[in-house]
Symmetry: C2
Subunit: 506 residues, 2 copies
């Protein structure tokens, strides 16, 4: 009946309240069986004396254990062990992880569909899915040379932690490159290097967005960006895109009404449509950004990939573009695996992004940045661009010609002058997500339209030409044509049947 | 007096409301001067007819422009242009960027102090700041060889977009490495590669934390992790660390009371103290995590850097550790510039993190992952570890001996058996942030204690040995001793003077 209090020792040197320490010590004795059910605990005064505690501390510990159902207090008779703590409100069994997660990150159904499609696709499936550059065009040898040179020249410091904003060697190259090739002239504190332009959008969302904020996006837009904005709880408002890029008609009133926190725009060879904003719309966007003080994220991910004539210069090269936050990347012109991207913006923006980058992943790889700068210094970028422009131009022309040949009536598509993708629009009633398994069965893959739209988008799909060679482009278009023809035939039949079933015969 | 309505054209093909389009067209004419102040607008009925609009649409557009102060409606006389829209509530002048940012990311004052200190430090300053491995120990040549081999062997695919979870070559290596070297045995879907362990903590915070959630951290802890948790709006509760690592006395009651979402623990060579949890405390932590279903982030960033005897195995190697989310990195054993880290956890956690990583930066560099795997396959990691263990062990012993020799009375410090850092505690009243400029003046740098504590921490500082060679360790300790001696002398004088001024003479 007496409790082995001599075995209780409270570690006073470690902080934490003495009450909690006493509770844990008692629990531990009960759990180990040293204190058994029905045993009486010493009166608070006696235990307090023996342990050198305040009596109130012991009382509180007892009270809380009574409340937990571990002890039982009988008035006038003392305090007894009730039993091993069962803690009925404690979760039992294995971790239920989904109860622990925040619910901001949702995988769109079309992502799952695509992943599944990729698993079931045969080896001779022609994939128009994924906006990726053609691996067979990668200048691997020139990069290998540049890598070795910078390792030999700079050595260990390229393998140390780098500054969060990017390595000086790369920033120097970048400043010259942007000024010369893109007309984007930036000061020393107005550039930031990131892990691909995807990270740029993510850092920007983190810097600017609170749940419930509005973001104006093109409709359709890049789903990777839409997912980021949604992940931060933003409300997306889509601005329609035509063959001239984002429409600006009615935009001013919309800005005045919606007060969006950000606009996200791809002015050149837009993803997924391939549309390009003419100079007049560019000027209007810059004017509106400045007038309403609404930052524009200008995603120039493939502005260099024109087939014949260079497109208009980026928004960020225009006068009055302080509110434009320009992002770029070598991922589509060269290779995405370097995971390099950049941001050109006003100094306060760069400072903020740099700080968020420091907190979230410290820095990027100085080695890869230095190698890319060296690669460009060797003139390899200038040499490479005409090669890819020509290759993709030929391939896109072949795709457009094949679509003319193989698409059934009622199907339309965009006519890009650069980049890697076009948007195909199907007659109403066809659903590109539902058709994907049929397409896979016929040996062709695409990206379903729903991913790119803030609402609906089912009767669109994106075709990208980075994973196909020229003959494959034609074969793929032919296969897609068959899929769509069959679907149209079926939908007409079903339509007729359904009408027959629902409406009384006339 | 008549308005040039023939010049108004509304683009009907682009979506957006006709009302907004009309408003923009009118605004644009007013702004350009085509419509001047005092001019009368056509009656709504006439304009509606001419533009083929519903009359209500024109009325609404007029009404809203009247409300904006751009038009003026005189009952019975029609609607007039009031003037160029001034929009008094529009922000004027350059962007006020700070008004646009979310305020979650705050730069701690000590970060600024350190940055400033680094700028003012002379070339012979001995830096104990920054937990970085010694660049002179980097096995650069072996990595260069591995890089070239994997480029030659795999080529272009290493420069393509990789899977968000990491490259297969690296995951295969990692599974073997963790099982063999750390006793952490994981299935195929239970590992994730990230950009350094910093990104692991960031992704975990994003997966688990909502503003206001509680995170239990060691007191003191790694400031980079504290900054992440604070950035997601978490409330930090510090659990004291002693020479045996995080104290577990009183922890159970605290868990039951606080219901934290996460615990963040560095069981081995803890940053900043260098303390290591004994096996018994490890078991208790795993038991508590499982019992209360509270995930533990186990940051094993330098568990391999022991000087003599291997420390106990990670929490994640113990039975019942499903709730333990293990993170590791080669950044301290090899070089941080690869920006590689990993997470070993239950499949649902990996799936969630992988998705968040995909959204936030698509993937890491397959090239660097493949090169590191090849480096290890060559036995270079096994060869390298004894070298760094010995070098850092010798250096740490020299530091401890130098502190014995040069520290004034009242200064204490931890005694790590591995890793790169120790925590020095100053007599009450000394403030390591305030002393930093004096230290720089004497040619020695450290990291101020406040960064590591959830509250206070001013009279602590961290010394790291990665940037110093052995003689520099001793010189640095001597200089630090001088700084502290002078500060103590000054504080005593000030103390006496102040006491003299405040208390009446006795």
């Amino acid at each position: 009946m007496s409790m082995p209090i001599q075995s209780i020792s409270l570690d006073r040197s470690s902080p934490g309240t003495l009450k909690d320490k006493l509770k844990d010590a008692l629990l531990s004795q009960i759990r180990s069986g040293a204190l058994r059910s029905g045993e009486r605990l010493p009166p608070t005064r006696i235990l307090a004396d023996q342990l050198g505690l305040n009596r109130g501390t012991v009382s509180s510990a007892y009270d809380e254990l009574v409340a937990d159902g571990v002890l039982n207090a009988h008035v006038g008779r003392g305090t007894y062990v009730e039993g091993v703590p069962v803690n009925g409100n404690l979760p039992q069994g294995p971790f239920r992880w989904t109860d622990h997660f925040t619910d901001l990150e949702v995988v769109p159904r079309e992502r799952e569909l695509l992943a599944q499609a990729t698993r079931t696709a045969g080896p001779d499936t022609i994939s128009f899915a994924g906006l990726v550059p053609d691996e067979t065009l990668y200048p691997v040898g020139a990069l290998r040379k540049a890598l070795n040179e910078v390792i030999d020249e700079y050595g260990a410091p390229l393998l140390a932690y780098g500054p969060p904003g990017g390595h000086d060697i790369f920033l120097d190259f970048l400043r010259g490159y942007l000024a010369e090739e893109r007309g984007v002239v930036q000061g020393e504190q107005e550039l930031l290097v990131v892990n691909g332009s995807q990270q740029a959008v993510d850092l920007l969302a983190r810097a600017f967005l609170r749940p419930g904020d509005t973001v104006l996006v093109e409709e359709p837009s890049y789903y990777g960006a839409l997912e980021i904005f949604r992940g931060y709880g933003a409300r997306l408002v889509g601005i329609p895109v035509d063959e001239q890029g984002m429409t600006v008609n009615g935009l001013e009133s919309m800005l005045a009404r919606e007060h969006p926190k950000l606009m996200y725009v791809m002015p050149t060879f837009q993803n997924p449509t391939g549309s390009t904003l003419p100079a007049s719309r560019r000027e209007e966007l810059v004017r509106l950004s400045s007038r309403y003080q609404i930052p524009i994220i200008e995603d120039d991910f493939d502005g260099e990939l024109y087939y014949d004539d260079a497109p208009p210069r980026p928004l960020k090269s225009l006068a009055g573009s302080e509110g434009v936050i320009y992002i770029g990347t070598p991922s589509k012109m060269l290779f995405p695996g370097l995971r390099i991207g950049w941001v050109a913006a006003a100094e306060p923006v760069i400072r903020r992004l740099s700080r968020i980058k420091q907190v979230s992943d410290l820095s990027g790889s100085a080695l890869l940045q230095a190698a890319l700068a060296r690669f460009a210094e060797h003139g390899e970028l200038k040499k490479h661009m005409p090669v890819v422009r020509k290759a993709y131009g030929r391939r896109m022309r072949r795709l457009l010609a094949s679509l003319e040949e193989y698409m059934p009536e009622g199907v339309t598509w965009t006519h890009p002058k650069g980049g890697l993708s076009i948007l195909v629009s199907l007659p109403a009633g066809l659903d590109s997500s539902e058709l994907l398994p049929d397409a896979i069965a016929k040996g062709v893959m695409y990206t379903p339209g729903r991913l790119f739209f803030t609402a609906d988008g089912a009767n669109h799909l994106r075709l990208s030409i980075g994973r196909t060679n020229e003959p494959a482009v034609e074969t793929g278009a032919r296969r897609l044509g068959e899929v769509l023809r069959e679907a149209l035939a079926k939908s007409k039949k079903v339509g007729r049947r359904e009408r027959g079933a629902v409406l009384p015969p006339v």
